[in-house]
């Protein structure tokens, strides 16, 4: 019932995106596992885990697009929610190592033995249980976003002030997690994972499953985000983006709407982080770096703000470009290429890849009414 509603409400772009993801979720793992490595259609494991990483970024980008593209909250700290989700997953994976660490301590992770910790800190309790860890993946970023948003939106902190304090948030967390005294492994972070749910994280099948899982979560998040923005609530949210004061004067509790969207988005980012960690094999405080969060904003802008699909597309394009540019003869100069790409897109494709493509497409067929992307208000 709900599915039908969603599909009916879905535009063509969304359907193509979903179909593509569903196809990826099915075909890539199958091709990786079943076809022989020599085959033309075989997807090597390295490519698969690389694309798994891109798709995690895509999920993060969608979560950011939900708050920025539809609610006008430019969060420069979304990386914090991503990283917290990642740490929750990382803590689970660390506990799964058990006595296979280099010191063979059944309870303490290696880095704690290394630095003479006597016992497991209380906040590590429970993370040996997968359901608990998954709950934390949602709860920790969600709760932080809730508390942060509750204060910030109630005080009507908007525009660039909000952006900068989200940046302050992630920067503070960065510094905190760097501290070895915090008990999260300091700069080295959490690494050398062995098992997830009893399966070896490095096994091809596990990787394939993680990849499929990432696609599924991406689909789910996309549907949730789509559902939110297409609902009546979503209309209010968009109204807030375009004219916050006016919406408030119409009697809507603007802060509650914002808080809801912000919290949902943070949970999504947490999920993205949780999927990211087992696939890249490490989580370290540098994920909190403000530069990472800014880069996420750039993915969204490049793909097309306020389109969801565009955000995912932007994340994949930029990260694919990064992968390509950082190898071979381009390696010493790739920052030029990346920087130029950012400047180029802002100057010549202000609506991002998707918005521009849509304009072009629309002009070819029939003049279309304005795209969902409104010009950002000046106060941002």
């Amino acid at each position: 019932m709900i599915t039908r509603f969603l599909i009916q409400g879905m535009d063509k772009r969304g359907l193509v995106f979903l179909a593509l993801l569903a196809g990826l979720a099915l075909l890539v793992p199958l091709s990786n596992l079943l076809l022989p490595p020599g085959s033309f259609l075989h997807v090597p494991t390295s490519t698969m885990s690389l694309w798994g990483k891109y798709l995690c970024y895509a999920l993060l980008a969608i979560s950011l697009d939900l708050v920025w593209g539809y609610c006008g909250i430019l969060s420069l700290g979304h990386g914090a929610f991503f990283a917290l989700g990642g740490y929750a997953m990382g803590m689970y994976l660390m506990r799964q190592i058990g006595s296979r660490g280099v010191y063979g301590n059944p309870i303490l992770p290696d880095f704690m033995v290394f630095l003479n910790w006597g016992e497991l800190p209380w906040y590590w309790y429970g993370f040996s249980s997968f359901p608990f860890a998954m709950l934390m993946v949602l709860l920790v970023p969600g709760l932080l976003a809730f508390v942060f948003g509750w204060f910030a939106f109630r005080s009507r902190v908007t525009g660039v002030y909000l952006s900068i304090i989200t940046q302050a948030l992630t920067y503070a967390l960065l510094l905190a997690f760097f501290r070895n005294d915090m008990g999260f492994g300091g700069n080295n972070g959490l690494t050398d994972f062995k098992d997830i749910l009893g399966f070896n994280v490095q096994a091809q099948t596990t990787r394939a499953a993680l990849f499929a899982m990432t696609c599924v979560m991406l689909i789910a998040s996309f549907l949730i985000a789509r559902g939110i923005v297409d609902s009546k609530l979503g209309k209010v949210v968009i109204a807030i983006r375009d004219a916050e004061s006016r919406t408030r004067f119409l009697g809507y509790r603007v802060d509650r709407f914002k808080l809801f969207v912000f919290t949902v988005s943070a949970c999504m980012a947490g999920v993205a982080g949780a999927l990211y960690v087992p696939q890249v094999g490490i989580i370290n405080p540098s994920e909190f770096a403000p530069a990472n969060s800014i880069e996420t904003v750039i993915w969204v802008a490049i793909g097309g703000r306020g389109t969801l699909v565009g955000a995912a597309l932007g994340a994949v394009v930029v990260n694919y470009a990064k992968t390509v540019f950082t190898s071979g003869f381009m390696a010493p100069y790739w920052l030029f290429a990346l920087g130029a790409l950012f400047v180029f897109v802002t100057l010549f494709m202000p609506k991002g890849i998707l918005g521009t493509a849509q304009d072009w497409w629309g002009k070819r067929r029939k003049p279309e009414p304005a795209t969902p992307v409104a010009e950002p208000a000046a106060a941002e």
Binding site: L74, F148, F151, A152, R154, S155, R156, V157, T158, V160, Y161, I164, I165, Q167, A168, L169, Y171, A172, L175, A176, F178, R179, S245, P290, A291, I294, V297, I298, A301, I302, P332, Y333, L335, F336, L338, G339, A340, L341, F342, V343, V345, T346, L347, P350, E375, P376, A378, A379, E380
Partner: protein, 533 residues
């Protein structure tokens, strides 16, 4: 290893010799010269000791040359190179015409350096120059060698300079504290002298009072320590305030350009840090040019770098504005994107052009070292940076408030269309404003080159702090930036001793987040309708 104590003891002998007019050659000077050529640290140190006791007429000159790395040895010859480049045979004091082959400078390690210092210091207790006598007294104060006491007392009796006399008395007091067989009355007086001195070292000396001292003495010592500690705690607060102001002025310099480009123009300028970096690299280039073509001007290199950095960063800023940003007015978030891209390009361009490693920017003489006011140690470079930050701030304020250009800038940023209708060429003003902001960032680069790395990453480390300062102070208000920078700087430095550098910084960030809840538009909010636009 040769202990300084032993050396000082020999100095006593030497000074005794010097006091009596009958200076005689002692044996062993020849041995000293052999040892100097042996290229062994312990031999070198021993040689210094021997030279001191030998009362060789060249001893002071040789030891001084050794300390400066001007003493050459090799092939049995030991030669002193004078400051003006003349060669003198160390043994005979005769000039040497041509430099014999196979000579190399006698090497020093920290131990030899200390022995040299002590020798020169000890020799200086009766030096005609009052400054050297004070330095010598300091050396004795630190060594607390009981055997120097007679010479010290002779020196005190002869001393006429008040400052030198005080220093010698303190040295005497330090010795009396550890000399258990001195008259109790003298030792009590010594405690008072140290209490008067009242610094960290006096405290250390007082603490070294032997445990078997009389109750009266211990009591006096306890009171003196308490008094000094109370006094020092006060000074420490002053010192923290100074550190805070100094950090604040660094933040102010880093942020004030951003207060123009971001605060006044509304461009979320992520390339701001790179403008700072360009300023620092300009300083480097200017210094290199001066080093190669006009070394005499080195002390003025920063003066020359200041306008150069302003022009370079300003020109790059204008180019960025004309090339990219002017297409983006009214879309501030996209300026974030484009300037982020520009910052990546600039960073990598500098990395390709100058290499990824740090570049050396030297400090001119007037910015090196420190001086003391009471218990405050003030380094010259920090002092100049505070002065410089103040000057830049005042100049910027004057430009914005007093000049026609400043008026036009404010007009354009407040109401572009109206300004345009009044005949202001808005495009030109935009470019100039952005250029001004960038140029000021370049000035910050000159100052930062004195305290931080000159590397392609320089800008990155200041960009976040700069945004925090501007937002905390209130966007669009220069006074806000000033107060914001100073508040954050001072708060940081008062937190650091208690919470440590990292926790202090985290606490500040949390404070900013909470503060913005209370005042969502920063410390000095702009009032009026423009805010809601």
């Amino acid at each position: 290893m040769i202990s300084i104590a032993r050396l000082l003891r020999q100095l006593v002998v030497l000074t005794a010799l010097l006091i009596s007019p009958l200076a005689a050659f002692a044996q062993g000077a020849d041995d000293a010269f052999t040892r100097l050529g042996a290229d062994s640290y312990s031999d070198t140190a021993r040689a210094v000791e021997m030279l001191v006791t030998s009362a060789h007429p060249q001893a002071a000159a040789i030891i001084e040359a050794l300390g400066d790395g001007r003493l050459l040895a090799g092939g049995g010859a030991v030669i002193v190179k004078t400051r003006d480049g003349k060669l003198i045979d160390a043994k005979t004091g005769q000039p040497v015409a041509t430099e014999p082959a196979g000579l190399s400078a006698v090497r020093l390690n920290n131990n030899v350096r200390r022995v040299v210092q002590a020798a020169l210091g000890g020799l200086g207790l009766l030096n005609p120059d009052a400054g050297k006598r004070i330095a010598a007294a300091e050396a004795v104060f630190k060594s607390r060698d009981v055997t120097v006491l007679p010479v010290l007392e002779a020196a005190i009796a002869k001393e006429s300079d008040a400052k030198a006399k005080a220093a010698l008395r303190q040295a005497q007091a330090a010795i009396l504290i550890v000399k258990t067989d001195a008259p109790p009355f003298d030792r009590l007086a010594a405690v008072d002298v140290l209490r008067e001195r009242g610094d960290q070292e006096a405290l250390a000396t007082l603490r070294s009072l032997p445990g078997d001292a009389s109750p009266a003495l211990k009591d006096a010592q306890g009171r003196a320590i308490a008094a000094i500690e109370g006094n020092l705690a006060l000074w420490r607060a002053g010192q923290n305030l100074w550190y805070g102001l100094s950090l604040g002025s660094v933040l102010l310099l880093a942020a004030i350009g951003l207060a123009i480009t971001f605060g006044v123009m509304g461009v979320i300028n992520m390339a701001h840090g790179e403008m700072v970096m360009l300023g620092a690299y300009t300083t480097f280039v200017v210094q290199e040019l001066i080093r190669t073509s006009a070394p005499g001007l080195f002390d003025y290199s920063l003066m020359i770098a200041i306008p150069a950095a302003f022009l370079v960063a300003g020109a790059v800023g204008i180019a960025i504005e004309r090339g990219v940003i002017r297409f983006l007015y009214g879309r501030p978030l996209e300026t974030l994107l484009a300037t982020w891209g520009i910052s990546l390009i600039l960073q990598q361009a500098v990395r390709t052009g100058f290499g990824p490693t740090n570049r050396e920017v030297g400090a001119p003489n007037f910015m090196s070292g420190a001086f003391e006011i009471g218990g405050l140690a003030i380094t010259w470079n920090r002092l100049w940076i505070i002065v410089f930050a103040g000057l830049v701030f005042a100049a910027l304020l004057a430009i914005l408030k007093l000049t026609p250009m400043g008026l036009q800038m404010r007009a354009v940023t407040q109401n572009r269309r109206m300004a345009s209708a009044m005949g202001i060429r808005t495009g030109r003003i935009d470019a100039l404003t952005f250029g001004l902001g960038s140029g000021v960032a370049g000035l910050a680069g000159v100052a930062l080159s004195q305290i931080d790395n000159v590397s392609p990453n320089l800008g990155q480390s200041y960009i976040i702090d700069s945004f925090m300062v501007v937002v905390f102070g209130g966007v669009g208000n220069l006074w806000g930036t000033l107060v914001g920078a100073m508040t954050l700087g001072v708060a940081n430095k008062f937190l650091e001793p208690y919470a440590g550098a990292v926790l202090g910084k985290i606490a500040l960030l949390v404070f900013i987040i909470l503060f913005i809840q209370k005042r969502p538009r920063g410390l000095f909010a702009l009032k009026g309708r423009a805010v809601e636009a």
